[in-house]
């Protein structure tokens, strides 16, 4: 009985004062669709395939990213231009398989593939999650336009890679 009375006159008012203070605290809820979350630079979202400043795509279809991918999410088929430049004919990322580990961007020797900050990509069909090369390049174009508009320094090496015709092995 004494404990009960003590709890009424001591413990309960203490608890009530704690909750009363909480009434005026900053709320922790993120109002998601109204207020978008701000991510750190290292956040790994939807992929993009970058281009050189002149618009050429950087990917040479070496297949290192596909090799590094632990989820087998990347598929590519190489081809060449008349000048002998390798580029991917088909480059597909299955975003449903992808675990967003970022190994592909680490593996890439050409600074071609990156994981951006986009996270709101949903679809009604599983097939829509297979992102083609055009879609991935379009992601880059969107990000690049935003970067130029905000006047942020690019983090990718900008110097144009000069392709040299391989020396004739016979001569």
């Amino acid at each position: 009985m004494w404990a009960t009375i003590k709890s009424i006159f001591l413990a309960i008012p203490t608890g009530l004062s704690v909750t009363f203070k909480h009434l005026f605290r900053r709320k922790v809820t993120t109002r998601y669709p109204d207020v978008k979350p701000v991510f750190e630079d290292r956040y790994r979202g939807l992929h993009y395939l970058s281009r050189y400043p002149d618009g050429r795509e950087r990917c040479v279809c070496c297949g290192l990213c596909a090799k590094a991918c632990p989820a087998d999410a990347i598929y590519m088929e190489p081809t060449e231009t008349e000048t002998g430049e390798r580029y991917p004919k088909v480059f597909e990322i299955n975003e449903l398989r992808c675990i967003f580990c970022g190994f592909c961007e680490e593996a890439c020797p050409e600074e071609a593939i990156f994981l951006g900050h986009e996270f709101e990509f949903s679809a009604g069909d599983r097939g829509d999650f297979i992102y083609t090369k055009e879609m991935l390049l379009a992601n880059f174009d969107k990000i690049e336009k935003d970067r130029v508009a905000k006047n942020i320094k690019p983090f990718i090496r900008q110097d144009k890679f000069q392709f040299k015709k391989p020396a004739d092995p016979v001569h």
Binding site: M1, L16, V18, T19, H22, L23, R26, K27
Partner: protein, 332 residues
Amino acid sequence: MAELIPVIIVIVKVTVIFVGLLTAVAYTTYFERRVVAFIQSRIGPNRVGPAGLLQPLADAVKLLFKEEFIPAKANKFLFSIAPMMSFVPACMAIAVIPIGDTISIAGYKIDLIISDLNVGILYIFALSSLGVYGIVLAGWSSNSKYSLLGGLRSSAQMISYEIGLGLSIVGIVMITGSFSLAEIVRFQSGSIFNWFIFKQPVAFLLFFISAMAETNRLPFDLPEAESELVGGYHTEYSGMRFGLFYLAEYASMITISSLAATLFLGGWNGPYLPPVFWFLIKVIFFLFIYVWVRGTLPRFRYDQLMRFGWLVIIPLTLLNIMITGLLIYLWR
């Protein structure tokens, strides 16, 4: 025509107070969700309408369109009327609570109370006892073990705490010498120190604790203790039948809050503002305490609840009556 006017006045009063009560019930749910959310550092419902103010409306629409499921082996008749038996008494109790002073419009004196019964307090207690039937029958007729246990707990709890609730205000009745709530409010007019919270502080505390138990609110919400009994007596209910239980709980919360305001905080007495506003402020104050306590305290264990009711509340109320009687005797 002149004979009809008092009838019209009564009809208008009943309509206004009843509609007001139902609106208040709807917005008490919103108020509670918002305040509890704030206590938990959340925002609460804020999507429907400005600041979520249309949320109660959306809830009502949702409840009306939901399926009203009846379990196969339930007693269908009792299952159907149990929500009404719980809702109607909860709403009826507001009839004897004075929400304002007597006003005169076009020469007619109007008491802002539906019916100034000379046994108003007894009437409220009678109705709150009737409310138990709805819950017990709901628990029994559902033919579900959780519902039955919830109903049984509810009956035992409400009977136990009704004694405390009734005895705690005997002191006030002794001082005023009246069961009429309007009389009790008039007795408290004048200075703020005429309010019974200053004359009967222990009784106030006991009354409010018992009231929380009587309305099945946390920390005494054992009839619907969700961690043990799923939903308690309303486990099997859905749709508007469930909604009626919900409304009944909030209606009795409002009734008990207005009873507390009437008995202990001087009802509509207060300076500057119109009496009705003072009454509403006090009721909202009590509702806030209800929600605040809900956001703070965990639930009692069942044996603790019973021991607290019988061994703490009731002896203290008896002691309070004794001391009040002694003081009244010495005063005169």
